[in-house]
């Protein structure tokens, strides 16, 4: 039945009028494009099976001359992953109508997908000759050049594309080039323009937010991440980044509620469980923190930041032997971070292995450039060993760093650290309170949390929230440290277990308020 109808259909339009005068003549040729609209309709509705049926019918009828049918068949092949077949069909199309830039574009696209970027650029250049005002050609050429590592050419092409017609995708690629070049400021410029152009694109908003976060411009970062979340409340990246910022401000409960959304969508994300773990840590639920961190560690066993946090939590729990293992694992992955060696030294001190502790401190002092805690802890250890001279040297080193930080950054010193330093200063009989009078009088004296997080996030590839998540937690970690110091030093009474965590918890709210005041 269907076939009959088909046969009639093929003949109908033209032959009905013309068949009488020339009966002996050959049958009329079918109109090639007769069913193109139907093919197209099936194609855009993603009804590929029906689409293939019509294509087959059409190609049979026209003996393979219907260019559009071949074209769509090739598109479907490509969607199904048969890129090589699609490439061949597109080449057939290019033979059928050599003047069409569209066919060349598709040939190039298939080449690109096959990883033949060089060949793709050649075909794109060919297509550009036929159609000079096509942003798509410029954009795709740009992308090809990125893969060919010719970043300058890529930039030119992408700018051309933007000039012809602005598209979010072009902005994203251009931003990526700047990031590849390590030029954060330029990347931010590009993303800013992009957000202006399409203010509701959550990917752009999130990326811009993350970039600001990397630069430590928290207010703007939060603004953009917040915007991203308004448009898409389930955006994984934005939630993680915003959550980590909330954690820095001590809003652990809010952050946890937000993480629930992510936990539903991406339950196997290591940074997510790391951040959740550090939320519990902030809330003093140490067992929960450890189990979450261990899950994160299970999911990403080579991530030193998770190991760092695990070490830190175990230090707080006075499980020094476990802490030692996590920290030494972390050092294996990240041997260039002073704080890690310091934590290791704290663990070793508590394990009564003073000799190795001292070695770790030496390494920490060598690597660290700006964290006064490292020197303070080392000084305490030396003092306890009776080496007052060494202790004095470290104390002075610490003073230097503190003075530097007071000028440059904007946060308060941890009161516990100040107290410890003052006690040590008294014990060493140095010009006591010289360093600390200012901070005590002027509560706005600055600390350097910002720089910690920055340093930590630097190593991360851009755009992954890992950076933020862990940047945050290492910042939190940093503040935790003084408690460890308190435990180590026998200047105060020998530390009783429950006393330790409390001062740290106080430390966090103060930090948070300090940051809020900044805004």
């Amino acid at each position: 039945m269907a076939e009959q109808r088909l046969a009639m259909r093929t003949q109908f339009p033209a032959s009905a009028e013309s068949i009488k005068p020339r009966l002996k003549k050959a049958p009329e040729f079918p109109i090639l494009e007769k069913q193109n609209w139907l093919i197209h309709l099936h194609y855009i509705r993603k009804d590929y099976e029906a689409c293939k049926d019509v294509i087959k019918e059409q190609l049979q009828e026209t003996q393979g001359l219907c260019e559009y049918a071949i074209y769509v068949q090739a598109l479907i092949f490509r969607l199904e992953g048969n890129i090589q077949e699609s490439l061949e069909l597109f080449q057939t199309c290019a033979v059928l109508s050599p003047q069409s830039a569209d066919n060349l574009k598709q040939v190039a696209r298939s080449l690109f997908l096959l990883g033949k970027h060089k060949a793709a650029t050649e075909v794109y250049n060919e297509a550009a000759k036929l159609n000079q005002k096509d942003w798509e050609i410029c954009h795709n050429l740009g992308v090809c050049y990125i893969y060919l590592k010719q970043l300058d050419k890529a930039q030119d092409q992408l700018h051309n594309a933007l000039h012809l017609n602005r598209h979010d995708l072009t902005y994203i690629m251009l931003g990526k080039i700047h990031l590849l070049e390590g030029d954060l400021d330029k990347a931010i410029e590009i993303y800013k323009k992009a957000v202006e152009f399409s203010p509701e694109n959550t990917e752009l908003l999130t990326t811009l937010g993350l970039l600001y976060l990397q630069l430590g411009i928290y207010q703007k970062a939060f603004e953009h991440l917040g915007n991203a979340l308004t448009y898409d409340p389930t955006n994984y990246k934005a939630i993680l980044a915003a959550g980590s910022m909330m954690q820095t401000h001590g809003d652990f409960d809010v952050a946890l509620t937000k993480y629930r959304i992510v936990a539903c969508a991406v339950p196997e994300s290591p940074p997510l469980w790391n951040n959740i773990g550090m939320c519990f840590f902030g809330k003093k639920k140490y067992v929960a923190a450890i189990s979450c961190l261990k899950r994160a560690n299970y999911l990403a066993p080579f991530d030193w930041k998770i190991l760092y946090n695990l070490g830190l939590v175990h230090l707080t729990m006075q499980q020094y032997a476990s802490a030692f293992h996590f920290l030494s694992a972390a050092i294996n992955f990240q041997p260039k971070m002073g704080e890690l060696y310091m934590l290791l030294a704290v663990a070793l001190t508590n394990l009564e292995d003073t000799e190795n502790a001292r070695r770790a401190y030496t390494e920490a002092v060598r690597l660290d450039k700006c964290n006064p805690l490292v020197n303070l802890n080392y000084a305490v250890l030396l003092y306890n060993q009776g080496e007052e001279r060494g202790a004095l040297a470290q104390y002075q080193e610490m003073e230097k760093k503190v003075n530097l930080l007071k000028d440059s950054s904007s946060l308060e010193f941890d009161p516990e650290m100040v107290e410890m330093a003052q006690k040590l200063g008294a014990a060493l009989q140095v010009g006591e309170a010289l360093v600390w009078t200012k901070p005590v009088k002027d509560p706005k004296s600055k600390q350097r949390t910002t720089s910690t997080s920055k340093a930590a996030s630097f190593q991360q590839p851009l755009g992954s929230n890992q950076a933020l998540g862990q940047a945050m937690s290492s910042a939190a970690a940093y503040r935790k440290l003084p408690s460890g110091v308190g435990g180590t030093s026998q200047l105060t009474k020998p530390a009783s277990l429950p006393v330790e965590p409390e001062p740290t918890v106080e430390a966090q709210p103060t930090e948070a308020s300090a940051q809020i005041r900044e805004k």
Partner: protein
């Protein structure tokens, strides 16, 4: 029903069938588009039905065929015409004809006719016959209609006379006079139109948006010969609806976009599934205009701008939608489904669409509890123990670790000394060995893969020897020569092993690779034999 367009589905080409007229007397074929419109002012004002199919528009009135309009022929390429004329007079032979035609195809602006294209495909032997058969025919180029809509002629009234607007495969838009069916205007587009959206009146001022196959939407006005604005969607449009002044476009990336009439993007909404069709919902009595979108998951969603007003769930995916007057009912929604069903829904007269019926506030996932890993009592006890005896634990661990390292180093040194490893590192015979045991027993197949890892030198004169407990296993050959080993190839050496014991015990078989004349093995492997499971059978 006010001017609506129904798109038939491939399997059901006769979706639009006139009820009383029975079968169509003419106009068979798949209709690309259908539209109702008023042709003239005379009473009674019966609307006409236009069906576009192939190159023709069939107009029905009073359920009877009324008029057939055919698209004008396209002018053929003059060069091509000339060539065929020459062929007619036999002044050109088929081969030259072919070459010339190919030359035209490569360069010409005007594409070739089907006749020439078909000719170019032929084999040499068939050409002569083809030319003789077809040479007397004039060559023709015929285009087809891809889409159709209506545009009011000169009055904005609801029952004013309308023109038909046709989109054709050769990238043109035609506006037809409603009475004389002459072409009033012709506009060319950069691509083939797929969907049209027109508002205004032809004689006064109108705005036309055409979604095209290249994924762009072109905006035109009355006096513009070329598209004035262009929206590049970077995806295929699947529907085009104008709501007040906003142009709502559905893309095949499952999203709805709102644009101004100048092509500026206003908003975008993500859909849960692919959009299949879109149409306008207009409730005049309440002044409501909204967009309906039929989705592949069997939902019909109704949006006013970004706000979701309602969701209708249907048993099958809806492929076309139409909202309007049906009989006495002003607000009727007619839907056809992918499987060929027809659904008619009547809107309650008291019904009011309210925003916020959809998802608002925090996503539901936020209320779900975190799936936290639990810790056992044992864990807590261990923690406490570690706090008490951390130092001792650390020390004994460190001591054991050193011991372990020492032992490992010793074993390694010993293995190196006595060639116990499966890889031989000597300069003369770099070899690699690994063994595979297959079978359930009592007979196993033991395959040794021996590879010469040197870059150039073949190895000759090697022997393989098996050492095993003869009470447990029997091997046909416990000692044999290895053929010459070409560098890089892996040589499988097979042998059978018979398990003799019926007590379900297994043992180690040692494989030694020796050099002729040397007693120390080059390398060795210990094979842990599996327990024979085929005892009963044996």
């Amino acid at each position: 029903m006010a001017g609506c367009t129904l798109r038939p589905h491939g399997q059901h080409p006769h979706l639009f069938r006139l009820p009383a007229a029975g079968r169509f007397a003419w106009g068979r074929g798949v209709q690309a588009a259908a539209a109702t419109f008023l042709m003239e002012q005379h009473e009674p004002r019966t609307p006409a039905l236009a069906l576009a199919s192939g190159p023709c528009v069939y107009v029905y009135k009073n359920l009877r065929p009324y008029f057939k309009f055919s698209l004008p022929q396209l002018p053929p390429n003059p060069l091509e015409q000339d060539l065929w004329n020459q062929a007619k007079e036999d002044r050109i032979d088929p081969l030259t004809l072919k070459e010339m035609l190919e030359g035209i195809r490569e360069k010409a602006e005007v594409p070739l006719s089907v006749q020439s294209l078909r000719f170019l495909q032929l084999e040499l032997s068939e050409m002569e016959a083809f030319v003789n058969q077809h040479k007397s025919k004039s060559i023709r180029r015929q285009t087809v209609i891809t889409t159709m809509t209506t545009l009011k002629k000169n009055l904005a009234d609801e029952d004013a006379v309308s023109c038909l607007v046709l989109g054709t495969e050769n990238k043109e838009l035609l506006v037809l006079d409603p009475e004389a069916f002459t072409v009033l205007a012709k506009i060319s587009l950069p691509s083939v139109p797929v969907f049209l959206e027109v508002s205004g009146q032809f004689d006064v001022e109108f705005r036309l948006a055409a979604a095209c196959r290249n994924g762009n939407i072109y905006m035109l006005r009355r006096d513009s010969k070329r598209p004035k604005y262009c929206i590049e969607l970077s995806a295929q449009p699947v529907g085009l609806v104008r709501v007040h002044k906003v142009l709502v476009v559905g893309s095949n990336q499952d999203s709805l976009h709102g644009f101004t009439h100048k092509g500026k993007r206003l908003w975008a909404v993500q859909m849960p599934a692919a959009i299949l069709t879109m149409n306008l919902l207009e409730q005049r009595s309440r002044g409501l205009q909204a967009v309906m979108a039929g989705l592949a998951n069997g939902e019909v969603r109704i949006y006013r701008d970004k706000a979701l007003l309602s969701i209708i769930r249907t048993p099958d995916a809806v492929t076309s939608l139409c909202f309007g007057r049906y009989g006495r009912e002003d607000h009727t929604l007619i839907m056809t489904t992918r499987g060929g069903g027809l659904i008619i829904k009547i809107l309650k007269r008291t019904a009011v669409f309210v925003e916020g019926g959809g998802e608002a506030g925090p996503p539901p996932a936020q209320a779900m509890k975190l799936n936290m890993p639990r810790k056992t009592r044992l864990y807590v006890d261990q923690t406490l123990r570690e706090r008490e005896a951390g130092t001792a634990m650390h020390r004994s661990f460190q001591a054991d670790l050193y011991l372990l390292r020492l032992r490992a180093a010793r074993a390694y040194a010993q293995a190196l000394e006595s060639s116990l490893s499966p890889v031989s590192a000597t300069a003369r015979e770099p070899l690699k060995l690994h063994a595979v045991v297959q079978g359930l027993g009592p007979t196993f197949k033991l395959t040794l893969h021996l590879q010469n890892t040197s870059t150039a030198r073949p190895i000759l004169g090697l022997l393989v020897c098996f050492l095993y407990n003869e009470g447990l296993y029997a091997l046909p050959r416990a000692f044999f020569k290895v053929p010459l080993l070409v560098p890089g190839l892996s040589y499988p050496l097979e042998t059978f092993v018979e398990s003799l014991s019926d007590k379900g015990i297994s043992d180690i078989i040692k494989v030694l690779v020796l050099r002729e004349g040397q007693s120390a093995p080059l390398l060795s492997a210990h094979i842990n034999m599996p327990v024979s499971e085929g005892l009963a059978a044996a």
